[in-house]
Amino acid sequence: MVRTGYDLSNSVFSPDGRNFQVEYATKAVENGGTAIGIRCKDGVVLAVEKIITSKLLKPGTNKRIATVDKHVGVVSSGLVPDGRHFVSRARDEASSWRRFIKSPIPTSIIASRLGSYVQMYTLYSSVRPFGVTTIIGGWDSEEELPVDGQVGSGPKMGAGGKDESLRSGGPGLYMIEPSGLYWGYYGAATGKGRQVAKGELEKLNLQNGTLSLLEGVKEAARIIYVAHDDSKDKDFELEMTWISGKDGPTKGRHEEVPAKLREEAEKAAKKALEGEDEEDDSSKGDKMEE
Amino acid sequence: MAALFGQDALTDNGPGYAFSQAPSSAAGGIRERSFYPYTDNGGSTLGIAGEDFTILAGDTRSTSGYNINTRYAPKVFKIGGDDSEGTNATIILSVVGFAADGQILKERLDTIVKMYRYQHGKPMSVKACAQRLSTILYGKRFFPYYVHAILGGLDEEGKGALYSYDPVGSYEREQCRAGGAAASLIMPFLDNQVNFKNQYVPESGEGHALQERPRVPLKRKETEELVRDAFTSAVERHIEVGDGLQMLVVTKDGVEEIYSPLKRD
């Protein structure tokens, strides 16, 4: 294969209008563990397949899904340290929003800010693009939030003249690629198993807005298990977080899915897989057990 | 002005204060915005260097004006050592005056002594620490730490070493020193009892022939008693001193802490 040198520097177009460095960065993502996000009617689930690269790693630690402010979760696939950089920027954005607007940053806005940030790393030859694709899930509060720090409460019966039919807040899910490109999603997947995962997500018909958060958790676990290619990869650990509204289990906060629920979901996922694999040789199923 | 209510009512009937109390009012003339960044938290400290030990002591009362903030606020601290408790420390410091400055000063010195150990692999000598403390204090010559600091330890020969400081870093190695609210009460007592000032050998003569009582190094036990007496007396005569007496004693075996109650009136 003949390379022309247009791929040696960031911020350089090739004659056919490609930015090779961004494409190569995407390659780094394609080797990462699968990460997915599902936007349910009453919340968002994030899940990631953590490949166990060494037996010496301490199980249950080395978390890969991060919280931003209290209501946003971020998971990325690709170069892990780049993901950490991304998260720390996200936290800066959220805190600067807090400083000026004195309220939590809406998910759509943090996605847009971070999209711009990632895009900036494709513009200059002095930096390289992010080697991660990131999924951002958040819940914008449906409640009337006070201005941070305010005292007093107004009339006891609440403010007058509200349009009660208005629905505000709710779940948000976005995915940002190394190019800085981002879209809002019902279901998003990245990393090694993204193709399989996307197929599975599509089957869920998420745009109908009927999938509940609890079902979402089950589906997320199942999809990660389906997307995991255990002929190629070693064992993996499943990490899952979720965010619900004020009436849901997390009360608007981004939190780890409780261990019990996750284990249940994993058990169901394994079972579903076994069902699928019945015709295959059973050695795979055994392997899952260990 | 009326738009902002009669702000002057704020302090019409309190004690007098050095600055106009009216909050900056709407276009109401010159705005006075002074702030006095110090206060005096009372209390007293005292240090005595012996032959092979040094004692630093302080009462544990903290005051503001006529109020007692607390009956237990230590004024004597270990500096350096292995951890935040000062395990294996060999240097002690007392601070009296503005407590917040004292606290910060102590923390700065403690950090420096610990960093010294980190960088040089050996503990800092009292002499070096004494010089460093002076530098810290002078570094804030134009916004001083409002404290009277006394540093104690053992010198290279194992003798008791005591250094006392003014707020801007002037320092001197001394045999004994009292600081804080009751300094003027305690110091003359120490002059007499530690350095035997105004004590003469009986019958030794008249006028210039009169011989001063020769100085003898104090024993640790009697020094502790001396410290206790000094504070018991100070408590009687100074309202900002009382509640408890905290003593740190450095010897070749390390630092020992002794606490005893004082009158709480």
């Binding site: 520097s9 190569y24 390659k27 301490k58 340290p81 390289r128 | 951890d83 980190y118």
Partner: protein, 266 residues
């Protein structure tokens, strides 16, 4: 062509999405002599080979011996460029100090490790910088118990049960992996012995561990919530550990296995 053009700086991806400069920096870690770290439920241990490769002036930085006092709750061991380690170590020292001064609390280990990881990542994304050429093992204890972390030049940091980095560390890792299940309930002595055995495995055939080439550092949870401060054993002091090792060998080579079996019974 053997050489490629994608390895000149750390801001260029190869077509496979690799960053060669970072990978080369990882090689620098392998030039350093081996260090081993492991944790039990009560202790964290670092053992290291002292003979410095040409790369290293100082093998073991322990924030308990030379760095005593301020971060009494953790220490580090390095493989690779010692000067890079010093930069990171000083940074950690500052962070630890500032945590003590600002909050009156010993800095949580995971956070201080993450902070050097973040620092290292920056060096892999900007032109004109180079990745750190050093790997670290960070071992210590905080209120959540003993921890061991590995730091890599890429900025990757991971919590481990046991780990080894440096020259021929693969053999040490193999030992650790084989005995992984025994660490959690090991006593302080057993843990150090495992460390020494792993270390020995990485030695060339004709070499032995001696007081001249081995250092050991231990930190443990003392009684009633108190720390057993980080303690470095160097020179003659190491002999207690080495003797322990040889005694055991002469008595019964399988003592460790037995010990573990007994614990399972109980």
């Amino acid at each position: 062509m053997f050489r490629n053009n994608y390895d000149n700086d750390s801001v260029t991806f190869s077509p496979q999405g690799r960053i060669f400069q970072v990978e080369y920096a990882q090689e620098a870690v392998k030039q350093g002599s081996v260090v081993v770290g492991l944790v039990s439920k009560t202790h964290a241990v670092l053992v290291a080979l002292k003979e410095c490769s040409s790369y290293e002036k100082q093998l073991l930085y322990i924030n308990g011996g030379r760095y005593q006092g301020i971060d009494d709750h953790f220490g580090i061991a390095l493989a690779g460029l010692a000067s890079d380690a010093r930069v990171l170590s000083n940074f950690m020292k500052q962070q630890a100090l500032s945590s003590k001064l600002t909050y009156g609390r010993a800095i949580p280990l995971e956070r201080i490790v993450a902070s050097i990881g973040d620092r290292a990542q920056t060096n892999t994304q900007h032109y004109g910088k180079r990745p750190y050429g050093v790997g670290l093992l960070i071992a210590g204890i905080d209120v959540t118990g003993p921890h061991l972390y590995e730091f890599q030049p890429s900025g990757m940091t991971q919590e481990m049960v046991a780990c080894s980095i440096g020259a021929r560390s693969q053999t040490a890792r193999t030992y650790l992996e084989r005995n992984l299940d025994e660490f959690a309930n090991a006593s302080k002595e057993q843990l150090v012995q495992h460390g020494l055995k792993a270390l020995k495995n990485s030695l060339p055939q004709d070499k032995e561990l001696t007081i001249d080439n081995t250092t050991v550092a231990v930190i443990g949870m003392g009684k009633v919530g108190k720390l057993e401060n980080f303690k470095l054993y160097d020179g003659q002091d190491v002999s207690v550990w080495l003797d322990l090792d040889s005694e055991e060998k002469s008595e019964d080579t399988s003592a460790a296995t037995e010990g573990a079996a007994m614990e399972i019974d109980s």
